[in-house]
Symmetry: C2
Subunit: 400 residues, 2 copies
Amino acid sequence: MDDALLIAMVGLPARGKTYIARRLSRYLSWRGHPTRIFNVGSYRRELVQGHQTQAWFSPDNVEARVIRLNLAMRALDDAFEYLRGDGSVAIYDATNTTRRRRDLVLQRCGEEGVPVLFLEVVCDDEAVVDDNILATKLEAPDYAGMERDAAARDFRARIEHYTRVYETIGDDDSSYVKLIDNGRKTVVNRVHGRVSERALRFLMVLSRVQKPVWLTRHGRSEYNDLDLLGGDPNLTDTGRGYARALAQHVKAHAPEGLQVWTSTLRRTIQTAEPLGYETFQFRRLDEIHAGICEGKSYAQVEAEMPEEYAARKRDKFRYRYPRGESYEELIERMDDVVLELEREHRPTLIIGHQAVLRVLYAYLMGTEREACPHLDIPLHTLLELSADLYELRESRVALG
Amino acid sequence: MDDALLIAMVGLPARGKTYIARRLSRYLSWRGHPTRIFNVGSYRRELVQGHQTQAWFSPDNVEARVIRLNLAMRALDDAFEYLRGDGSVAIYDATNTTRRRRDLVLQRCGEEGVPVLFLEVVCDDEAVVDDNILATKLEAPDYAGMERDAAARDFRARIEHYTRVYETIGDDDSSYVKLIDNGRKTVVNRVHGRVSERALRFLMVLSRVQKPVWLTRHGRSEYNDLDLLGGDPNLTDTGRGYARALAQHVKAHAPEGLQVWTSTLRRTIQTAEPLGYETFQFRRLDEIHAGICEGKSYAQVEAEMPEEYAARKRDKFRYRYPRGESYEELIERMDDVVLELEREHRPTLIIGHQAVLRVLYAYLMGTEREACPHLDIPLHTLLELSADLYELRESRVALG
């Protein structure tokens, strides 16, 4: 529980707390900090009979208030349980809109010896709040079978109840981040520690707008033909054929404003050529470095360096080629690429390499990081990834 | 002028604006954004006859006010001049404490097409302000020949004049960062763009406390004897002798709380062994990667790859070994190490490699980045670097 951290969300309903919690959870898990979200609303839906309409959320409803407090504490207890086990970060997804409630959270965390970072989401733009209600609340189980207008009215009344008692964080002794108006303004108070700082860095580039990311490996290279590792080979004729097919597909289907990123290695640059786009070459996108095994075949490695071959087989995620890299290190190298992707508001086509794309895919699709070395990213296949607020989508197009 | 940025400091005197400006300037220059500070106080001292006492800074002193405005505009004009030339970032080091003055800066920047980032330094802790006055102001040319108590009184009265008209930034349309109480709290508003974001990331770890950093290369290795590049060789007997001598010196002279960092390569780990410290191994501290030249001698490279040899000779800073790294890229790789050094409040001994230490040295001592490949960091020599508020110091100890 050395690195344990509780991130307690703060804010009125429909401000995007859950969206931010999910994005942050995915990112931190990918960085190697197992993270889980404890959403008090889910506890209510699971444990309280029937559907609750707005009156249930009124601060004047004494009976419901007791139940709500119990649910909140139950979620918090589960969060501690998680942190005592394998968990590193628990995101406590509740409104926590009163100072009193936050003091209770602080007190419980103090008892458990878990540091707290409050993450307040502030948005006073009614249009954005309305969008959030329409996009995420009306289809929720709470409003199953209810007419949309009535549901929206009910939800706005629920927000009203919270607004009456809402106190924004003003306590400068505690550790908090306030995200105001969707990235316009950020207030950072007493944020220390590696995990909090990483979370902060991500939050500062995170946008509500998610653009499609397309991933493809380079076309078939001379080394693919020879089954050799690494190097900087040229495309084969087949590989050039894929590059042309990719260009045709992009021409027909590319989202507007597409930008193209490649590595600095010939095979990705050559794959980009027929596109006719201005491309950005990132050294960070170069293939995993196989160190002293560069230019050798797997068969050669097995024959000449049986211990290395065996070590790699045992733990492909952590195995590092001598003077080369491991998948684990590759995630660290890809961190800047991921932050750059989040910072950009343009759809992006990344022409990369197998290991590099596995690592990016794991981030984009929320795959477990240890599974990276086993993800299937075949040659001559375009992966079109996109995301809604809460949903990740993938389609694979075989080309060439 | 593509990446041009004006960073305008804001804040009362003796809040540490100049210290922050200097640290930031050194960091941004090292990252490849040529940065210069335009300090209005220096313009006054150069252009206005005599020494000005506090009355000169009173808002009621109409004549002096005109002169002060002229000086401020003159410094600003020079900043634009710099940005039209080779400069990338101009730090405008003035108080800029009134909204009206900041509007003027915004207006001038608008005319010049230069984006502005306001950087406000807030500190209400009188003890810290007094420390700053004692540490930096009384020895300044303004008070040459004046008794210290009288000088301090005069300076406090000068601050009073600014306090009367001070308006903290509240304009949420502009781009600003507020640093409050020495890193406790940070407010970030509309900060966009690569240079601003880099500056921000640095500012968020920057501390007023500068701890000594000791740098040394590993002891003599088997590859040093053979004049070979890269690899992961062991220490020679001579190298082990240095490791023991280093341990003795550290035992006798190490600052309290020293931590020891090495790379992941054998020769630095072996050099750390006799110290008896717990050490942290950072892959980021591994030597510059010589790619396909690893394990070769310079003579071999010259003979077998004359074009590579010649290209490297032409531009040693930007030259990249095929499948390896350049010094320029090494700076990028060292960025996290530098931020980690700033974040840590402990003295640090880094046992590293020639190229890596050249790059760290350039940051720590403010050496021009293009000079990195030519810095002299000999074997068996300990570099003890330390810094005061405004002063960088180096001593070299030959050992073993």
